[in-house]
């Protein structure tokens, strides 16, 4: 049976043109929402066009006509099958104070893996500096860290002027952007089945362990803690959270015992990964400010006890923020998205 093409086009064209006009309008005005009557009409047009596509495909098979209908249905499909969340308002406060820590807790094992790898790296770095002191020159990433701790502490403590004066803002911005890039990169490397994330976390641990061992063995533990704790108590956990996000990606890449496809696994975790990396970004902004405006001042400007106490308080507050609270169940995700529809 051959479709009566001319009559088919003559009958369907007004509806196809109307749908095309609606789609053009929706695409040119992304923020616009359809009212109830328009939505009903749109739904009718999409169904009608889909039915026409099915008829055209099964019968005459006229390629140009089919392409036209396909393009209309494809565009309409994206509009009709839109995920509901994007129609909702995003509550930043609810997201940061509610969803971020809940997501962190839901994937706590990935964080613990991140922590374990960093600790392993730190142990390696510390061991290298203690048992093979010349390796310090190879391990330390900056020239300033290659000096002996005694020289650095002396230099810092007798500094007569504020060497960061007039540059603190710029230094802070550099720290923020660089650390966020490192965290994002650690997350992104999760797609290498987690190998890249492991490498970055281990390397960070190596440097951290090497610096810590260098200062502790030289007898400058208070200086070390006073220097690193104020910003490190937030910065290091933030990088670990970046690694946590990376391991979530790695798990989606590797697969689990379920029969879900890789595509489904990635779809399931993408929101959690973005939530974690967003929270990491905010933590690193805070750490950047503290590092530039507070951590770089040592005794006699700021007593070490004050700096250490500040750092410990920050760490305790961060732990409480991230760990205390009820883990959101998968079906309760998206708390930060408030529906405009009171019945939703």
């Amino acid at each position: 049976m051959i479709l009566h093409l001319q009559r088919f086009v003559r009958t369907g064209r007004p509806f196809w043109d109307e749908l095309q006009a609606q789609l053009d309008y929706l695409e040119e005005n992304p923020g616009r929402r359809l009212n109830f009557d328009d939505a009903l009409r749109f739904d009718y047009l999409v169904r009608r066009c889909s039915a026409d596509l099915a008829r055209a495909g099964n019968l005459a098979g006229e390629p140009q006509l089919r392409s036209h209908l396909e393009s209309l249905v494809a565009r309409a499909y994206a509009e009709v099958n839109e995920v509901r969340q994007q129609r909702r308002r995003w509550n930043v406060r609810q997201w940061f104070f509610g969803e971020f820590p809940a997501t962190f807790r839901r994937h706590i094992r990935a964080f613990l893996l991140s922590l374990a790898i960093t600790i392993a790296g730190a142990a390696f770095g510390a061991g290298a500096v203690i048992f093979d002191p010349p390796s310090k020159q190879a391990l330390m990433p900056f020239e300033a860290l290659k000096d002996s701790p005694a020289e650095r502490v002396k230099r810092e403590e007798i500094a007569g002027r504020d060497r960061l004066s007039g540059h603190k803002g710029q230094f802070s911005a550099q720290l923020m952007t660089h650390n966020i890039q490192v965290a994002v990169f650690t997350m992104a490397l999760g797609i290498s089945w987690g190998i890249g994330s492991i490498a970055v976390l281990f390397y960070n641990g190596v440097i951290l362990g090497a610096v810590a061992a260098d200062y502790v063995t030289a007898g400058f533990t208070p200086f070390l803690l006073g220097w690193l704790l104020p910003h490190g108590s937030v910065e290091i956990p933030a990088i670990l959270v970046g690694g946590q996000a990376g391991f979530i990606i790695a798990r989606a890449m590797i697969g689990d015992r379920t029969r879900r496809t890789r595509r489904q696994r990635f779809r399931d975790v993408s929101k959690d990964v973005v939530t974690l990396i967003g929270g990491t970004g905010i933590m690193l902004v805070w750490a950047g400010i503290i590092e530039a405006f507070f951590s770089q001042y040592h005794e006699p400007v700021i007593p070490y006890a004050v700096k250490i106490a500040f750092g410990v308080c920050e760490l305790a507050a961060l732990a409480a923020f991230l760990l205390i609270g009820k883990s959101a169940q998968p079906e309760a995700r998206g708390e930060a998205w408030k529906s405009d529809d009171p019945e939703a």
């Binding site: 051959i2 479709l3 009566h4 093409l5 001319q6 086009v9 064209r13 196809w16 695409e27 992304p30 169904r47 889909s50 039915a51 596509l53 099915a54 495909g57 019968l59 005459a60 098979g61 006229e62 140009q64 006509l65 036209h68 396909e70 393009s71 249905v73 494809a74 565009r75 499909y77 994206a78 509009e79 099958n81 995920v83 969340q85 994007q86 995003w90 007039g166 603190k168 803002g169 710029q170 802070s172 911005a173 550099q174 923020m176 952007t177 994002v184 990169f185 997350m187 992104a188 490397l189 797609i191 990606i249 989606a252 595509r263 990635f266 779809r267 993408s270 929101k271 990964v273 973005v274």
Partner: protein
């Protein structure tokens, strides 16, 4: 979902309707990227000019602002535009490309953010080496960011409706003189051959003369074999006229 020969993604909706989306080629995506990089560069240049004026008064703050602004622009450009323009940056808009959900749905915010955050990894070791290679090897031309975010980049085609009036010959059609033979012909012509013949008629002016003669000769021979009309009716008909008459019988009442 399956991949077709033309590098397209075929989507079957829950209602049973099937449609396909042509995937964007790597060259087109690269051109779109160049446009986007130029936009980011221009935006950074504007910020730089602003900062120069501001730095006379407050140099540290101005430099900090410049650093943060560049970071936000370079990271946020793709995120913001792909979100507000439903999967399009300026470059993609110019080149007619669109990022879509892997199942053809509209993009979610997390997908847009994730595919753009993965970009630095795709750019390694330079000139999108990793992303380009993965995209070439990927079934759906996805870079790493697309794989993680479950997105595809498509080249939506806004096809125009065919001018089916061209199928009407507008002249006397001798094949209609024998209604029983016309009915038999209509029954025996398969949709596939009818579609090919209709396409040949609609595109006949774009064909090389020799190819046009050969194509219509083959089609006419095929149709002549389906139903045998009296010789006096068809012997003077040229092949192209014969095919058009057949199509008029088949498609136009």
């Amino acid at each position: 979902m399956e991949i077709g020969r033309s590098r397209s993604v075929t989507i079957r909706t829950p209602e049973g309707v099937t449609f396909s989306l042509p995937l964007a080629g790597i060259v087109t995506r690269m051109l779109a990227l160049i446009v986007d990089l130029a936009c980011v560069g221009m935006a950074a240049g504007v910020v730089d000019q602003l900062v120069r004026g501001f730095s006379v008064v407050f140099s540290d703050g101005a430099r900090a602002f410049q650093l943060i602004a560049y970071f936000v622009i370079s990271t946020g450009y793709g995120i913001a535009l792909e979100w507000f323009w439903h999967g399009q940056t300026l470059g993609k808009r110019i080149l007619g490309l669109r990022v879509m959900d892997g199942e053809g749905r509209r993009l979610r915010p997390a997908q847009v953010i994730l595919r753009n955050l993965m970009r630095p990894l795709d750019m390694l070791p330079g000139l999108y080496g990793v992303g380009g290679t993965v995209s070439l090897l990927s079934r759906y031309s996805q870079r790493l960011g697309d794989l993680a975010a479950n997105t595809i980049v498509v080249r939506p085609i806004r096809a125009q409706l065919p001018d089916v009036e061209q199928l009407r010959t507008g002249k006397y059609n001798s094949l209609r003189e024998y209604p029983h033979l016309a009915a038999r012909l209509k029954r025996r012509v398969t949709p596939e051959v009818a579609a090919i013949a209709a396409e040949a008629v609609l595109r006949r002016d774009t064909l090389e003369p020799s190819a046009r003669v050969r194509l219509f000769g083959e089609l006419a021979a095929h149709f002549r074999g389906l139903v045998e009309y009296p010789a006096e009716i068809v012997e003077d008909l040229a092949d192209e006229r014969y095919v058009r008459n057949v199509l008029e019988v088949v498609f136009v009442r």
